[in-house]
Amino acid sequence: MRENVVIRTVSRLAVPFIQVFALYVIVHGALGAGGGFQGGVVFASSFILMIVAFGLNSVRKRLSNKWIVVYSVLGITIYAGIGLLCLFMGGNYLEYGVIEAILGIPHLHGYLLDAVEIGIGITVMAVMTSILCDMADKGGESS
C-alpha cells in the first residue's frame, strides 16, 4: 500500500487548506465572486478527499449521519428563519430592509446576506457530503 501513504500524507496536508478556502468562498460572497453554493461544495470536496484517502469510516467519525442531518436542517432553518424574522418585524417575507430599519445598524442588509450565505453553505456542505457518503457506502459494506 505504498502509494496509499503518499495519498494520505498529501491529503492530510491539503484538507485543512481546502476547508479554510471554502470558508473564505462562503463568507466572501458579498464582496467578490463566491457564495453559499460554491463554498459549500468546496467544503464538501474536502470530506470527499478524506473518503478517497482515509475511507468512509474516517469521515463517519468526523461527521456522523446524525450531524449531517442536523447541519442540513440547520442551514435551511437559518435561511427560512431570517425570512420569518423579517415577517415578524413587519415587512414581507425575506425583506431584510425592515430589520435594518428597525435595528438601525448600517449595512445590516449586507450582513444578513452573509448570514444567509453561511446558511446555504452549511446545508450544501452537509447534503453533498451525505450524497457522497451514501454513494460510497452503497452496499452497506463501508470500506
Binding site: 460572497g29 458579498a30 464582496l31 467578490g32 465572486a33 463566491g34 457564495g35 453554493f37 449521519n65 442531518v69 442540513s72 442551514g75 435551511i76 435561511y79 427560512a80 425570512g83 417575507y93 425575506l94 431584510y96 430592509g97 449595512h107 442588509h109 449586507g110 446576506l113 444567509v116 450565505e117 446558511g119 446555504i120 446545508t123 450544501v124 452537509a126 447534503v127 451525505s130 450524497i131 451514501d134 454513494m135 457506502d137 452503497k138 452496499g139 452497506g140
Partner: protein, 91 residues
C-alpha cells in the same frame, strides 16, 4: 431507434436554427435583456443593498425566494439519495 432519435434531434435543431437570426447579436448592448432588467439591477443594487457583488445581491435579496427554492432542491436531492441508497440506518 437511432434513426428515430436523429430525426427528433434534427427537428429540434431546425426549430433552434430558425430562431438564431432574430436573436440579438453576441454582446449587443441594445439587447432587450440587458436594456430592461440588466441595467435596472445594476443601477438599483448599490443604493438598495450596498454590497459589491451584484450577482449575490440578486441571488440572496432580490430573488431570494428562488434561492430558498434552490436550497430546498438540494435538500430534496440529499433526502432522495438517502432513501434510495441507504440500507439499515435510521433514515
Amino acid at each position: 431507434m437511432k434513426v428515430k432519435a436523429l430525426l427528433a434531434v434534427l427537428f429540434i435543431g431546425i426549430i433552434l436554427f430558425w430562431t438564431v437570426e432574430d436573436m440579438p447579436a453576441f454582446g449587443d448592448p441594445e439587447a432587450p435583456a440587458t436594456q430592461y432588467l440588466g441595467i435596472l439591477y445594476i443601477e438599483s443594487a448599490l443604493p438598495d443593498i450596498g454590497i459589491e457583488n451584484i450577482v449575490t445581491a440578486i441571488l440572496a435579496s432580490y430573488r431570494g425566494f428562488d434561492t430558498l427554492g434552490e436550497v430546498v432542491v438540494i435538500f430534496t436531492a440529499g433526502i432522495s439519495v438517502t432513501l434510495l441508497l441507504r440500507r439499515g440506518g435510521r433514515l
